[in-house]
């Protein structure tokens, strides 16, 4: 009998442990007074007093970056890899229920960010004042800390040095039916934004078609952009949960008829570690893919605001190395940032090859694109 | 010591079944009262209401004048505070405690410290001759031992009132006799008020100071055992108490069966009102058939010719079945009757041993001589 009581008490004590943690975090966060000039030292001091930083990032590198941050400033970071929709869900719920547990997010859903989360005050955009001249104006609000090309890639062992495709319209052809791997648009807001941007650039798509086939495009949908999307979706595009999986599938050695994929350039680092045979489709027209931004923002009411600010500043200055230098395929917006030599060019070079996403259009068309995908891409 | 008073106590189960109906009963302090009756007569329900485990729908229950329950005023003293003792038919010993644990539980509730509890437990176990069982668990005990433990548990807290609900019905005959004697001894020694529920009239007769006979929720008679036996207040009581049961003689319209009419003539005082006449087998004597044809009421004795139909030896006595004036009657003989089935004999009984009942079954004034 006593044993039972002890067990029950123990069980509740364990539970209380968890509850206490959240209770501590629920204490009203101190809002620091805005300093007249930016004082890095003071920021560091304030940050150190606050305790462990909680971060959700779309990249798994957040763990390494967090460790480096701790080594440099002595502030622990609890970094978790989390997909965009889940991040959005958490932020909204936490802010609405006034139980904010996360401080900073690395987030790729630009449209939602610009259209909803920033205007309605769920997130706070903080640009480190002393880096203002190192970050291009366009990338400051909302703050981008990482640019990645998301590109079409192929298996060079199967197809040789010459890419098997030179024009995006080839992806609508029967030869590639069921052989194109992309991240599930329903789970990848950036892909939806990409398709929305295509749909709002009909002239570009029409010209690309003419260049490729030397014929005029027969448009049955609303415009050339939608026509492309329809044919593309109907070509049995295979959806894969992550870029890494796409890279593995496309680049696996020993494949005679390898698929092609749409993935972030960084996956090509696995060529060395996993013996993959990935290569980009250089010179693809009218674009090789799109420029995927990752934004860094603070949550409104974050329990550790100064640590969050320090972290944001860190990844914009020297903290971005695990992404941009150690591995290839990602770029910091910071003009002073070092870059990996294998990148096939600088960010300026890449910008010219990639489609830039239009967040406003993307948000407006999001539901329509999603439905279009469900209609044409999911129904067999 | 304590007296119990029930006034107008009524309990219904559902809307139809009347378990106890308007019961008025006063149990004197120090008495040993048996609630006797067949199954379903309300005796256990009454006991539980005294204990407080069931609540009456109407009425009042008092203990030494103190109200335990009153529908009128809404007062209700819960079971835990009544300080009574109760032994269940199934004993309800707690299987997860030792005998000592079971017995000392009530003492714990009273707030006694460990030393005093231990002493009292030992004392009570000794009283019931089960001292050596203190460390055993109920599952390891025999029926009789469990019963004693239940008694010990009840007695340990020295309650004013002891309530027992058919405590001996699960025991074999020998044990039952022992326990009956034991209980009577305890009553003599400790002298508490005891309320004892049973359907066994032998138990009621042998152990109690008064018996309350109940039937279909109503009190039939409340009197000392011998009164119940000799002067049953109504037909129900008369038929229930006594083994073998009382012979019942009713008017029969058929010719040649005029026994009732014959007997009725012998009691002119009850003429007109008498509808049933009873006489116990032990009051009937089988005698030789001589001079029986003479006046049936010789002096204060009734005697008639009868034919022996069966003789049933029980070992300690003989039950003789006879036919008189077309009626079948049973007589009890403590010595072997000097007759065999088929013999013509005579049956005799003192007039004052006949019981007269009216149309409602109620007892009529004692039969006197004519």
């Amino acid at each position: 009998m006593k044993k039972l009581v002890l067990c029950v008490v123990a069980a509740f004590a364990l539970m209380a442990g968890g509850a206490k943690e959240s209770a501590a975090q629920k204490e009203a966060p101190k809002q620091p007074a805005a300093p007249a000039g930016f004082d890095l030292e003071q920021l560091v001091r304030e940050a150190r007093k606050e305790g462990q930083l909680v971060a959700y990032f779309t990249s798994s590198r957040i763990k390494d970056v967090g460790d480096n941050f701790e080594k440099k400033y002595g502030i622990k970071v609890k970094g978790t890899k989390m997909a965009d929709p889940e991040q959005a869900e958490r932020v909204i719920r936490e802010v609405d229920s006034r139980n904010v547990q996360v401080d900073v997010i690395g987030f790729e859903d630009g449209p939602l960010l610009e259209g909803k989360l920033l205007p309605e005050g769920y997130l706070v955009n903080w640009m480190p004042p002393d880096l203002a001249d190192q970050i291009p104006k366009d990338d400051q609000n909302p703050l981008v800390f990482l640019w990645q090309p998301r590109i079409f890639g192929y298996n060079f062992e199967a197809f040789g040095d010459k890419p098997p495709m030179t024009n995006v319209w080839e992806m609508t052809e029967a030869r590639w039916k069921g052989k194109i791997l992309v991240r599930d648009p329903a789970q990848t807001p950036a892909n939806l934004a990409f398709f929305a941007t295509i749909a709002s650039n009909p002239a570009l798509m029409e010209k690309a078609y003419a260049d490729h086939t030397k014929r005029k495009l027969e448009v049955k949908e609303a415009n050339a952009g939608w026509e492309f999307l329809k044919r593309f979706f109907q070509n049995d595009v295979v959806t894969i949960p992550s870029d890494g999986d796409i890279g593995d599938a496309v680049g696996a050695a020993g494949q005679k008829d390898a698929p092609v994929g749409f993935y972030t350039l960084t996956k090509q680092r696995d060529n060395k570690t996993k013996d993959l045979k990935l290569a980009t489709m250089k010179g693809m027209q009218p674009f090789m893919g799109y420029a995927l931004p990752t934004y860094a923002l603070m949550i409104k009411g974050a329990p550790h605001p100064n640590a969050a600010k320090l972290f944001i500043r860190y990844i914009l200055s020297d903290g971005h190395q695990p992404w941009t230098v150690r591995d290839m395929g990602a770029f910091s917006p910071n003009v002073k940032a070092a870059t990996n030599p294998e990148n096939e060019g600088s960010w300026a070079d890449w910008s010219g090859r990639l489609l830039k996403l239009d967040n406003k259009v993307a948000l407006k068309l999001r539901q329509e694109i999603l439905d279009f995908w469900l209609q044409h891409g999911v129904k067999k | 010591m304590a007296s119990i008073e029930l006034q107008g106590v009524t309990k219904r189960f559902g809307s139809a079944v009347m378990a106890v109906d308007g019961l008025d009963l006063t149990i004197r302090s120090g008495s040993f009262v048996c609630l006797l009756g067949p199954s379903g007569c309300g005796k256990t329900t009454t006991l539980r209401m005294i204990a407080g485990l069931d609540l009456p729908d109407e009425g009042e229950i008092r203990l030494d004048g103190r109200i335990l329950y009153s529908t009128a005023s809404g007062e209700y003293v819960p079971t835990e505070k009544r300080g009574m003792g109760l032994v269940f038919q199934s004993y309800a010993l707690w299987p997860h405690m030792t005998v000592a644990g079971n017995v000392s539980f009530g003492l714990e509730m009273q707030g006694l410290d460990r030393e005093r509890r231990r002493a009292r437990v030992a004392e009570v176990l000794e009283l019931l001759h089960i001292g050596e069982l203190a460390a055993r668990y109920p599952a390891q005990l025999s029926g009789g031992q469990q019963q004693r433990v239940a008694l010990a548990r009840m007695l340990a807290v020295s309650p004013d009132i002891l309530l027992l609900d058919e405590p001996l019905s699960n025991l074999d005959a020998k044990l039952r006799l022992e326990m009956r004697a034991e209980l009577k001894r305890l009553h003599k020694t400790i002298g508490n008020t005891i309320v004892y529920v049973t359907h066994d009239q032998l138990e009621a007769m042998t152990m109690s100071t008064e018996i309350a006979v109940m039937h279909q929720g109503r009190l039939q008679q409340f009197a000392p055992p011998m009164t119940i036996y000799r002067e049953p207040a109504n037909l129900t009581v008369a038929e229930f108490v006594g083994s073998p049961p009382m012979n019942i003689i009713r008017p029969s319209g058929r010719p040649g069966e005029g026994l009732f009419d014959q007997l009725a003539e012998l009691f002119p005082a009850g003429a007109g009102a008498v509808r049933t006449i009873g006489v116990r087998p032990d009051d009937l004597a089988v005698v030789a058939a001589t001079g029986a044809a003479a006046s049936p009421a010789a002096g204060r004795r009734w005697i008639r010719p009868a034919r022996v139909e069966t003789i049933l030896p029980t070992g300690s006595e003989w039950i003789v079945g006879l036919r008189v004036e077309g009626h079948g009657l049973f007589a009890r003989a403590v010595e072997e009757p000097a007759c065999v089935p088929g013999d013509e004999v005579a049956l005799a009984a003192p007039l004052e041993r006949f019981h007269l009942f009216d149309a409602d079954g109620r007892r009529l004034s004692p039969s006197g001589a004519d």
Partner: protein
């Protein structure tokens, strides 16, 4: 003669009486409070979900252009009648029904056949078969799915090759993913329930019925058809409805095997809508799932009165004539043995094998490794360590244990308390109501219930703060969902105990709390343990409930598995599955030894 005054004059004394009675025995008040709490915990979330089907939430306001908080029928329209409703809802619904039907078609005969072999024939080793058949209950429902991928997936989703591929065979899409594997895996997981239900039913069929028929000259076949089968009809119907409702609420298997080929069933459709950020549509799907589940199981309750399922199989041990198998002995043993192997050994063995190899199915010495169990760093999985060194997995395991333990203890205690109250107030309306309400959570499919609770508890309500992201929410939802099991065993245990031990304690002067603590609970030790162990096992392998509720701070082993599957870390995922199974087995074994109780008899009562 005292007769009480009539009418209004009785009000004050009656009130006084009631107060006194209730102070000594607060059961009616406790029952009322508990019933109210359960109603709130079950019906309020469902009500909140109903509201969410017509009210715009933040995520939806971004995509639909409607304002947050506005009332609208657009979600209903989108789910049921829009151009995409087929993809979002109707096709998953049809898929679910078809899968459930096929699963029943396989699982029922299989379960019934094995049950008959075990109970009615002289099959050698049938006792072993009986105890082995409890094992699948201890495996998470999606274990088979994970094992299937390990054995039979193909290149469509990339990643590590399967065993089949390593042996040179490329399974076609329809074999590797989608409807066929889902049906087979669900059938393998669910047929033990049919086995247990039929076994119970066969055991409780009074052989005297058969024997009288035999005496009257009926042949074995006639007896089977005219006497046994009709008696088994309730069990048949019950098993069918149970299987159907399980398929309805099961998330793991369709997720693992269906998403890659876009074969959606209701649970994955619900989850998908939720994850995309269409909470309105998710709410509609969840409501339909809940309504379906409730109807199915309510049917079950009405056709097979609940208590019949828990008839104690005691009886006078009538001699049962075991039908001799004769020539069928060998095939029967083969079938039974195969069933054992396939449902228990095969999945576990394949999982274990995969965790020991870099590339599954490549049987070269340099391919074997203990990396995934004990390495400090795994090159293919940045930031991850082998299972025994992995801080994330350890944290998840700790969370799983904490949550399952807490929920189980609450369940056990409350379940016993419900049993106590229901038995103390048997025929009053309150007692009946409490009994029915405590059964309510059983009717709601897990994933639907989790969605409803998330929607309801994510917002602060009065004195109760928002429980979003807290462990409390997980414990609460689990405890409520498993309460029916605990309260069933609590009720039957209390009925067996009867009222007299407690009354004896009352007479000895013990108050209500004292009686509960010193008499009722100690006597019901075994029932309490059963009421704790079974929810604990269920909690450790629960995925459908937690998948909607767990967050990074409250990650548990079952959600960790899905994360690993999503990342493509197959070996780690499989290792975690084995860890779950290991923990469940270990705890069950320890508890059985400690309390001397037998799990199989407890499991057969729950289904």
């Amino acid at each position: 003669m005292i007769r009480a005054a009539s009418g209004a004059g009785r009000l004050v004394p009656r009130l006084r009486m009631w107060l006194c009675a209730v102070r000594s025995d607060p059961s009616p008040i406790a029952a009322a409070l508990l019933a109210a709490a359960l109603v709130w915990l079950v019906l309020a979330p469902i009500g909140s979900m109903l509201i969410d089907t017509v009210r715009v939430q933040v995520r939806d306001s971004a995509t639909t252009g409607l304002r947050t908080g506005e009332w609208t029928l657009s979600f209903l329209q989108r789910t049921f009648t829009s151009r995409v409703s087929g993809v979002l809802f109707w096709t998953p619904l049809a898929n679910t029904i078809v899968v459930a039907a096929l699963v029943s078609l396989i699982a029922l005969p299989l379960g019934a056949g094995l049950a008959w072999l075990t109970v009615r024939t002289d099959l050698p080793g049938r006792r072993i078969l009986s105890s082995v058949m409890v094992v699948p209950y201890m495996l998470p429902s999606w274990t088979f799915a994970v094992a299937w991928l390990t054995l039979l997936k193909n290149r469509r989703l990339g990643g590590l090759p399967s065993f089949a591929e390593s042996f040179g065979f490329a399974p076609p899409d329809w074999l590797a993913y989608g409807a066929l594997p889902i049906v087979i895996c669900e059938a393998l997981h669910l047929f033990p329930f049919a086995f247990l239900l039929f076994g119970n039913a066969l055991r409780s069929v009074d052989t005297q019925l058969e024997e009288s028929a035999r005496v009257l000259g009926a042949s074995g076949g006639v007896i089977a058809r005219r006497i046994i089968l009709p008696l088994l009809r309730p069990a048949l119907l019950s098993a069918f409805l149970l299987i159907f409702s399980r398929v309805l609420g099961s998330f793991g298997t369709p997720y693992i095997l269906g998403s890659g080929v876009k074969f959606m069933m209701l649970p994955t459709a619900l989850y998908g809508s939720f994850k995309i950020g269409s909470p309105g549509v998710a709410a509609v799907i969840a409501t339909v799932t809940i309504a379906l589940g409730i109807s199915l199981l309510a049917l079950d309750v009405f056709f097979v009165r609940e208590f019949k399922r828990f008839v104690t199989m005691g009886g006078k041990g009538s001699l049962r004539r075991a039908a001799p198998l004769g020539g069928l002995r060998a095939p029967a043993m083969l079938t039974a043995g195969a069933a054992c192997l396939i449902t228990t050994l095969l999945p576990l063995a394949s999982l274990l094998a995969s965790t020991l190899m870099h590339r599954p199915g490549v049987f070269r010495l340099d391919n074997f490794t203990l990396d995934y169990w004990i390495a400090a760093a795994i090159p293919a999985m940045p930031g991850q360590r082998g299972l025994f060194l992995n801080a994330d997995i350890a944290a998840s395991a700790w969370n799983s244990l904490r949550i399952a333990c807490a929920a189980a203890v609450i369940c056990g205690l409350v379940g016993l308390f419900v049993g106590y109250l229901v038995v103390r107030l048997p025929s009053t309306r309150l007692g009946v109501f409490l009994r029915q309400v405590s059964f309510l959570p059983y009717l709601v499919p897990s994933i639907g219930f989790a969605a409803a609770c998330l929607s309801f508890f994510a917002v602060a309500r009065g004195p109760v703060p928002s429980l979003y992201g807290t462990m409390t929410l997980l414990v609460l939802v689990m405890a409520v969902k498993y309460l029916p099991f605990a309260s069933r065993s609590g009720i039957s245990a209390m009925m067996q105990m009867g009222g007299e031990p407690e009354e004896a304690a009352r007479v000895c002067g013990a108050g209500w709390l004292r009686r509960l603590a010193r008499i009722v609970v100690p006597i019901q030790k075994h029932a309490l343990v059963a009421g704790i162990v079974l929810p604990f096992i269920s909690g450790m392998k629960e995925q459908s409930l937690v998948i909607m509720l767990a967050t990074p701070g409250t990650e548990v082993l079952t959600t960790q598995v899905l994360r690993f599957v999503d990342y493509g870390y197959s070996q780690l995922a499989n290792a975690v599955v084995l860890a779950i199974v290991g923990i469940v087995f270990a705890f069950t074994f320890i508890l059985e030894k400690l309390t001397g109780s037998n799990l199989a008899s407890g499991v057969s009562g729950t289904g």
